[in-house]
């Protein structure tokens, strides 16, 4: 309890009565310590109106913010829980139950499909409230399922990590989610579809060392922490002095690892523009010869690579039926013109 909950809330309570005061009426900015009123905060997309610090935002709010309108949740197949029968001070199964009760979710990833800027997108978003967004088998499965769905729908994949790294309680099962998630993004790339990563606070450890650093485009929220090794490990083990702004989004941009740092209020516009640039390419200019079809949208049976089928991996996801693309089967302009009009509305 901070001074606020002790002092201010009772005062407010005495004025308006206890039932009308939600627990989170006021909160303190973790950066400038300024007081934030919940309504201002909500209006400002959880960005501090004093210093511009980006506070955490729930996955539901995040998805509402990004998708054009309604979106559909994609079911993630269940995986064996607690494969190691892990117990530290507490049983892993108990920690899972607590996190499930707290979040109302099965695990730390949410997969959803919808449109952003009129372009079809599958989003794989991490829920940091679920055990620090740590990546175990369920999260890995979520990324695989998101990638398979993107390929099946001819949609872009947008990953939104918010994770401390691997789920220690799953031991090596969590480490193999690194290659598994890399395979997932490879499916999307081999289909000529955009894979975009929106890095949010924090993106560290095994999550940064796998799918999160393999995007065609890396967008980051201002000030978010991105890195492989934890600051404490670096300071304590190696005894190196950390430079100012170390491992922030801006630091990573300066070091060539992030394309753009985008404030939350501009995220939807930026994402919409990029997705349209990559997927809605009609300008009359095309490469010579046969081309496949990586154009988006309702063309659900097309999985062509951008420039012909010759670079396509023979890999087919195990659950969805993927129609093999015949390289000779030119599906040209098809619905692209229709798309343009749709997206220009």
């Amino acid at each position: 309890m901070n001074w606020l909950t002790n002092l201010i809330r009772p005062k407010i309570r005495s004025i308006v009565g206890p039932k009308d005061v939600p627990d989170n009426l006021w909160q303190k900015c973790s950066s400038c310590e300024g007081m934030l009123f919940h309504r201002d905060l909500a209006e400002n997309m959880n960005v501090c109106n004093h210093c511009g610090h980006h506070l955490k935002i729930s996955v539901a709010e995040r998805l509402d913010l990004l998708f054009d309108g309604a979106y559909k949740r994609v079911d993630v197949p269940s995986v064996p829980q607690d494969p190691l029968k892990f117990k530290d001070k507490k049983k892993y199964t108990d920690r899972l139950k607590e996190a499930q009760a707290k979040t109302g979710e099965k695990d730390a990833i949410i997969v959803a499909e919808g449109e952003i800027g009129g372009m079809p997108v599958v989003v794989a978003a991490f829920n940091f409230d679920f055990m620090g967004g740590s990546m175990g088998a369920a999260v890995g499965e979520g990324i695989v399922r998101a990638a398979e769905t993107a390929v099946a729908r001819n949609a872009a994949l947008l990953a939104i990590p918010a994770s401390g790294g691997a789920r220690m309680q799953e031991g090596m099962i969590s480490l193999i989610q690194l290659p598994r998630s890399v395979i997932a993004v490879r499916m999307v790339k081999d289909s000529g579809l955009p894979y975009i990563v929106l890095l949010t606070d924090p993106t560290t450890g095994g999550v940064s060392a796998s799918f999160a650093m393999l995007g065609d485009i890396h967008i980051a929220e201002p000030g978010c922490m991105i890195g492989f090794a934890g600051k404490r490990v670096i300071e304590e083990t190696i005894r190196e002095q950390l430079p100012p702004g170390f491992q922030t989004a801006e630091y990573l941009k300066d070091h060539g690892m992030v394309d753009i740092v985008v404030p939350r209020k501009d995220l939807k516009e930026t994402l919409s523009r990029i997705l349209n640039l990559l997927m809605n390419r009609t300008g009359g200019l095309r490469p010579k010869g046969k081309i496949g079809n990586a154009s988006p949208g309702k063309v659900t049976n097309a999985n062509g690579a951008l420039f012909g089928g010759q670079n396509r991996s023979s890999f087919a996801p195990h659950t969805t039926t993927v129609n093999q693309v015949d390289p000779a089967n030119d599906r040209p302009e098809l619905k692209e013109s229709a798309r343009v009009t749709a997206s220009q509305k």
């Binding site: 530290d88 480490l175 023979s314």
Partner: protein
């Protein structure tokens, strides 16, 4: 040889045997008999000790300073070894050594983390903790392997990727991620052997392979037991408990179907008979390569991906 704590009863017995040997200038029958008795006792003790090593004890064996390291394996099984340096972008990383060579006549790319065997070499090799340029060199070598149709052999022995300011500045996470991707896209067979310590992302970066083998007393883990204990138990004192909970031994990981085979070590660990250990590894690699040959690149890649996708699902 530096004895580990749990090995003390064995080394004490061995000391006694040596003492008795020194005492008998003449052929004293009763002393010879005593020596025989003690020797068979020492042997039995070794067997029983090493058959039931706890995970924490295995960590000590896996990290034993006299255990054969990457360059010992290269020397023992690779001819014409030609180390190649540099990532062509920033620099050379001596923590991750790699190059061309021949394994039983076949040209291969061989690479691995080298921990070093004395202060000077340990510092030279940065204790086997690679930086981004090390992983980018590995990527370069794997691309070369694809281009020239050379199988890749990787040897894993690292506490983890180097956690330092410069490594972060140059994109440690990105380098590891790309290296995993390179393993998965490799157009030739890849065999990885955990010879000592398999430390998290820094290990799997060059161990996402068609066949992954572990030495009998090696370990492979998502986090060091010390690190795990300090986070989950809030005390590094619980490292032993964490070591057990993490299921990081070769035997545990074989049961979880995360590795393909366990390579037996000489009695008392690889450090007691390095050449026997190296020859067991060579035998297993030969077996793996023959299982994977001849290869069709597309099928190989597809199977490698399917293998990883299937892991941990049931």
């Amino acid at each position: 040889m530096a004895a580990l704590d749990f090995e003390k009863p064995i080394t004490e017995l061995e000391g006694k045997i040596a003492e008795l040997r020194n005492m008998t200038s003449s052929k004293d029958f009763s002393i010879a008999e005593e020596i025989n008795r003690l020797e068979s006792k020492a042997e039995k003790l070794k067997v029983s000790t090493y058959n039931k090593l706890t995970p924490a004890q295995k960590i000590l064996v896996a990290r034993h300073s006299e255990r054969p390291h990457f360059l010992d394996y290269v020397k023992g099984m690779i001819t014409d070894f030609t180390p190649l340096a540099g990532d062509r972008q920033f620099g050379e990383d001596n923590a991750l050594v790699g190059g061309l060579g021949r394994f039983q006549g076949q040209s291969v790319v061989v690479m691995g983390q080298e921990k070093g065997h004395d202060t000077e070499t340990r510092i030279h090799h940065n204790f086997g903790m690679a930086k981004p340029e090390g992983y980018r060199k590995a990527i370069r070598l794997m691309e070369m392997a694809s281009q020239f149709q050379l199988p890749v052999l990787s040897f894993i022995d690292t506490a983890g990727a180097y956690p330092g300011v410069e490594a972060e500045a140059r994109g440690q996470a990105e380098a590891i991620a790309q290296s995993i991707d390179s393993c998965l896209r490799l157009r030739t067979p890849m065999i990885s052997v955990v010879i000592g310590e398999g430390g998290s992302g820094g290990a799997i970066a060059i161990a996402t392979a068609d066949r992954v083998y572990m030495m009998e007393h090696s370990i492979y883990s998502v986090i060091s037991p010390e690190g795990c204990a300090s986070i989950l138990w809030r005390s590094a004192q619980q490292a032993e408990e964490a070591a057990t909970a993490l299921k990081l031994t070769a035997q545990d990981l074989k049961n979880l179907k995360l590795i393909d085979a366990i390579i037996p070590e000489p009695l008392g660990g690889a450090h007691r008979d390095p050449s026997e250990a190296i020859s067991s590894v060579a035998t297993q690699i030969e077996k793996g390569l023959s299982e994977l040959s001849p290869w069709d690149s597309e099928r190989l890649i597809k199977r490698r991906q399917q293998k990883y996708l299937a892991m941990g699902r049931v």
